[in-house]
């Protein structure tokens, strides 16, 4: 049996979410833009889904635009705001701990004449609101920050950062792909203008996500075509995906899941700390995501650890899945001041409500042996 501890990369679909999708492949396969009954059934389902997702964050339905996932939502938000507001300024602020789907958008935007400022973080992975305020200039049009960090799990303080953005009248975008559903996001309370979310990190299907756009946000359309999603994101609607996404949100909103995952994570953390020379990275209090646990193992490499875990049927990751094939040291771990050898020795375990206490016991039985064996081989 596989023990899946890589839920920050992607998750298993919830059976109810999958069940909800199937009729929209088999029976109600109409195009939501068609006027006939089949089309209208699809449209109704999309609007129902939109309402569920809007309500999950205290938003109105017309503020939700469906996309193909987190990467598209991030691209849409950042490029869309940048180009729609370039008459106002060309300066954008982000952080050193972003996901590649934000970081690489900025690299490209620099080639298009935009100026990017990158904020550092403290040793637990938090942006200081004072640093943000100092970085804002008259030309600043957008601030974009990862809400729940995907490697170390730090959850940024939306109240404080949002207030700074509001005070200086700049748009505030958050990448909430890891944090959505796992911690509160409420647009009534949090002064956030754009929110990227996706489905496959919360036990929904892959290939669907959404962007929350506060009413009045000036943004360029992402795809041009048939005018779907109020002309902001053309393309035939992914009806089964959207329906499955909404179902995953409905189920995910049960707060008991978070408490359960926290309990498992705590058990895993306690067990890891019993292994000699192990260090846990990122916040370990309520400012950390419930499902992400990053640990550095002295003297051995993360890839070798996850390789041996894999041979035992346990899935974990060295860093983000998107960075697995590069040799670069992880930027987030560098940003919190981890030395290179600790970065090389880092493993990310990420949990979900489908994990069990027995699975954690099994991991804690196998892992110390693996660490011991690799340390026997290592010169350090």
């Amino acid at each position: 049996m596989t023990i899946y501890l890589d839920n920050a990369a992607t998750t298993k679909i919830d059976p109810s979410s999958l069940e909800e999708m199937i009729p929209f492949f088999e029976k109600n396969y109409g195009n939501a833009s068609s006027v006939h009954q089949l089309g209208q059934k699809a449209k109704e389902a999309i609007e129902k889904a939109r309402k569920i997702i809007a309500q999950s964050m205290g938003a109105n339905s017309e503020e939700i635009v469906f996309t193909s996932g987190g990467t598209e939502s991030n691209n849409f938000a950042i490029k869309g705001v940048a180009f729609a507001n370039k008459d106002k300024g060309n300066h954008i602020i982000t952080t050193s701990i972003e996901h590649k789907s934000v970081l690489n958008v900025y690299k490209w935007l620099e080639s298009q004449g935009f100026e990017i400022s990158i904020l550092g973080v403290d040793e637990k992975g938090f942006v200081k609101p004072g640093d943000l305020e100092k970085a804002i200039k008259p030309e600043t049009i957008l601030v974009s920050i990862i809400h729940g960090q995907n490697i170390i799990g730090s959850i940024q303080n939306l109240e404080k950062l949002g207030q700074v953005c509001k005070k200086h009248n700049v748009y505030f975008h958050i990448d909430a792909c890891q944090s959505y559903i796992k911690t509160e996001i409420n647009v009534q309370k949090h002064l956030v203008d754009l929110i990227s979310i996706n489905s496959h990190k919360i036990h929904g299907p892959k290939g669907v996500g959404a962007l929350y756009l506060r009413k009045g946000t000036k943004i360029e359309p992402y795809q041009h075509g048939g005018g779907q999603e109020r002309g902001l994101r053309s393309g035939t609607d992914n009806v089964p995906g959207i329906v499955g996404f909404a179902k995953a949100v409905e189920i995910g909103l049960d707060k008991n899941h978070i408490e359960y995952i926290k309990k498992l994570k705590n058990k895993l953390r306690q067990g890891l700390l019993k292994i000699p020379k192990v260090k846990i990275n990122g916040p370990q209090d309520e400012r950390g995501l419930c499902h992400i646990l990053s640990a550095s193992f002295f003297g051995i490499e993360g890839e070798a650890i996850i390789g041996l875990l894999d041979l035992e049927g346990i899935c974990a990751a060295t860093g983000s899945a998107c960075a697995s094939y590069t040799l670069e040291l992880d930027q987030t771990l560098l940003s919190i001041g981890l030395p290179p050898q600790d970065i090389n020795g880092t493993v990310r375990f990420s949990l979900s409500r489908f994990n069990t206490e027995e699975e954690i016991d099994k991991v804690l039985e196998i892992l110390p042996k693996i660490v011991g064996k690799l340390r026997e081989i290592s010169p350090f």
Binding site: K277, F298, G299, I300, E301, E303, A304, G307, L308, D310, L311, Y325, T326, L327, P339, P340, Q341, N344, K373, E376, I377, S378, P379, F380
Partner: protein, 167 residues
């Protein structure tokens, strides 16, 4: 995992690792790009023809799956073989033995060849033997790279020495 069966087998069943205390030659190499480190120890003896051969070989590696597998495989390949044979062993040779590696990981197998050759260099220089020019040239490059690695792991190696004192 994106590795050949041969690589995975060697990764699963590492052997010939650990220190050789009275080694005749030691090759300590590190890769400044990815941070992998390999220390290789040899003891030299003579075969029936009177040629010098690698009688014992052992490694210590801090590295990824590819580096660990290459370490085991290279020790298997040159154990009880002549020094001449070991010196002719190339990067291409080990890569073929491994059944290939993902392009990003090729440098990990190079580390094993470098460690082997540098252990032979060490043996030659300790015994005041003439050193082939290409071996000396490679050694100079490896020394430079090792400098980068030592700088990178400075605090760490010291910390490890401290920890060992506690043992």
């Amino acid at each position: 995992m994106p590795y050949s069966k041969k690589v995975l087998d060697a990764f699963k069943n590492p052997h010939n690792y650990g220190k050789i205390k009275d080694a005749d030659g030691i090759g300590k190499v590190g890769n400044p790009v990815c941070g992998d480190v390999m220390w290789l120890y040899i003891k030299v003896g003579k075969n029936k023809k009177g040629e010098e051969m690698i009688k014992e070989i052992s490694f210590e590696t801090f590295g990824c799956i590819a580096a660990l597998a290459s370490s085991t495989i290279i020790t298997d390949l040159v154990k009880n073989k002549s020094i001449g044979y070991a010196l002719e062993f190339t990067k291409k040779g080990i890569l073929e033995e491994l059944g290939g590696l993902p392009p990003m990981k090729i440098h990990c197998s190079v580390l094993a060849v470098d460690a082997l050759h540098d252990a032979i260099y060490d043996y030659f220089s300790k015994n005041k033997r003439p050193i082939p020019e290409n071996l000396a040239k490679r050694h100079r490059i490896l020394e430079k790279e090792k400098g980068v690695i030592e700088e990178r792991y400075k605090g760490w190696i010291e910390k490890e020495e401290e920890l060992h004192q506690d043992d």
